[in-house]
């Protein structure tokens, strides 16, 4: 691959008791692209996200972000290096307002933070819910809030865990447009997604995990016809 990679995952191993969730997995995430991470349930996608963001300690291997080791750092340190993430199960701060959810996570001067929060709210058309408690928002709205909360700190690498799950068509299209715009602005995005249409339409590179191992990688068109991938998803 000629282009520079922003995230290097080398030979990462993570076990839970007798289960090997991530098994000698290596990925090289090129900067400025949208990448997809797919695989059947329990294939280790979310665990790999947790390893990257410092929520899980590795049992082997290393992770480098812009050339520097980030495995072993605490989650907040990883976030401050410029990696933002969303969660598979929504994790907004329910008893904080939409606006407060955004303000809480940045260390920018307050005026800068307010301005950015206002911009992001209008970006996803949540402005009228600015002072509503996040816990009162609908599922889709919370999903959008979590998405723009990640953008508050302006991360270079954005990890999205199932951004399309439970989101209606209109909202999904907004999200997809937003992601493309972020990519065009130079951000790198890695998404875990089950919706194949989303992955195939959006991603420039796809990695497939099965039982914690990377079984395939390449552009969507190649992945679609890969035998091991079909086998992993549908069985023999």
């Amino acid at each position: 691959m000629p282009e520079a990679s922003i995230l290097e995952i080398k030979d990462v191993v993570k076990r839970f008791g007798g289960i090997t969730a991530v098994n000698h997995c290596s990925l090289s995430i090129g900067a400025g692209k949208i990448h997809g991470l797919i695989g059947p349930n329990g294939s280790g996608k979310t665990t790999l996200f947790n390893c990257i963001t410092g929520l899980e300690r590795l049992q082997g291997g290393e992770i480098r972000f812009k050339g520097e080791r980030i495995d072993g750092l605490k989650p907040y340190q990883v976030a401050r290096r410029g990696i933002g993430r969303t969660f598979q199960i929504i994790r907004v701060f329910p008893q904080l307002t939409t606006f407060e959810n955004l303000l809480a996570v940045t260390t920018d001067p307050i005026e800068v933070a307010r301005k950015r929060a206002e911009e992001l709210l209008s970006f996803v058309t949540l402005t009228r819910l600015k002072d509503e408690y996040a816990g009162n928002l609908s599922y889709g709205q919370q999903k959008l809030l979590e998405f723009i909360r990640v953008l508050m700190t302006d991360p270079e690498l954005i990890l999205l865990d199932e951004p399309a799950a439970g989101v209606n068509r209109t909202l999904l299209n907004e999200l997809l447009t937003a992601m493309t715009r972020l990519r065009d602005a130079g951000k790198t995005i890695l998404i875990v997604e089950h919706d194949m249409k989303v992955v195939m339409g959006l991603c420039e590179a796809v990695y497939v995990l099965d039982y914690g191992e990377k079984i395939a990688e390449g552009p969507p068109s190649v992945i679609r016809s890969n035998e091991r991938v079909i086998e992993a998803y549908f069985g023999r």
């Binding site: 929520l55 407060e100 303000l103």
Partner: protein, 304 residues
């Protein structure tokens, strides 16, 4: 409305009150201020971050002993000795908070309960220094009005500090920790450091208030300054008024102090039973407290 326009008239009224109140009522007010400060302090760690401290009276007790020793052995003025009470309280908070704030939920609560028992046992054990079980007697107090002002100041300072925290991003981050610590961490908030800052602050004021109390009570002993019921009273006052809010602990402390004075004092034998019943009622019927319920329905600003 700017906060100054609220605080100034309150300070003025409280400053003039001793001129018209009887000694009995001044004593009542002193205790009420003490409860406002204690409930407010508990709120800083437990109301904001959700880390429930069941041993907060330990900081109060350490403050009383510090002041008692400084007054009797070193000849300090009671005001200076009282203020000095915050130092060992914060040191204790640092030593216990650093490891224990990693514990979640009931484990933190229990560890704090253990802390209080350890401190009480240590104070009882070192008899030569602390007077053991019989405690330390201070010179009898002649004028209580200065203590009134000191306690009133403590109550106001705790409330103003709470206001400043809750309306700042520091406060938002503490609330974010309460709401979802893991998400806060993943969003770049150094949760361990923030919890420790809040804990240190929440320990400082009980230390000071304890120092003033030692002078006011003229006597300190392990049984009277480390009782679990003091922690429970702080908690119930804060929950009753609305934890995690600025005025919740104030409201809870004032209402329960008055209730205690008017109702419970006349039914001494059921006092504890009534307090217990109130705890159950608050937890069951209004876990958010008075302000929490109002906030939920009317979307009050954070500043309240």
């Amino acid at each position: 409305m700017r906060p100054v326009t609220v605080v100034v008239p309150i300070v003025a009224v409280l400053a003039l009150l001793p001129a018209i109140l009887s000694g009995y009522h001044i004593s009542f007010m002193i205790q009420m201020f003490m409860w406002v400060a204690l409930a407010g302090s508990w709120n800083l760690i437990s109301g904001l971050t959700g880390y429930v401290s069941f041993g907060h009276v330990a900081f109060f007790g350490v403050g009383t002993y510090t002041a008692a020793l400084l007054i009797t052995k070193a000849g300090w003025h009671w005001l200076a000795a009282g203020l000095a009470g915050c130092i060992p309280a914060m040191l204790l908070a640092l030593v216990i908070g650093y490891p224990c704030l990693r514990l979640k939920g009931p484990y933190f609560a229990i560890s704090m309960l253990g802390l209080n028992e350890v401190v009480r046992a240590l104070v009882s054990y070192f008899e030569g220094f602390t007077g053991g079980g019989s405690g330390i007697s201070l010179p009898p107090i002649v004028a209580i009005v200065p203590v009134y002002y000191a306690m009133a100041a403590a109550a106001i300072v705790v409330t103003v500090v709470t206001y400043l925290i809750i309306t700042s991003r520091f406060g938002l981050r503490l609330l974010a920790i309460r709401e979802d610590e893991l998400a806060a961490d993943a969003m770049g908030i150094n949760t361990a450091a923030y919890k420790l800052y809040a804990f240190l602050l929440s320990a400082a004021f009980p230390g000071i208030v304890g120092g003033f109390y030692a002078w006011y009570a003229s006597h300190v002993e392990p049984m009277s300054v480390f009782p679990l019921i003091t922690t429970i009273t702080m908690i119930i006052m804060c929950l009753f008024g609305g934890s995690g809010t600025v005025l919740g602990p104030v409201l809870g402390a004032v209402l329960l102090s008055i209730m205690q004075e008017l109702v419970w004092a006349r039914f001494l034998w059921v006092h504890q039973a009534l307090l217990g019943a109130l705890i159950v009622a608050v937890v069951l019927l209004m876990p958010r407290g008075i302000l929490g319920i109002l906030r939920h329905h009317f979307r009050l600003p954070r500043a309240i």
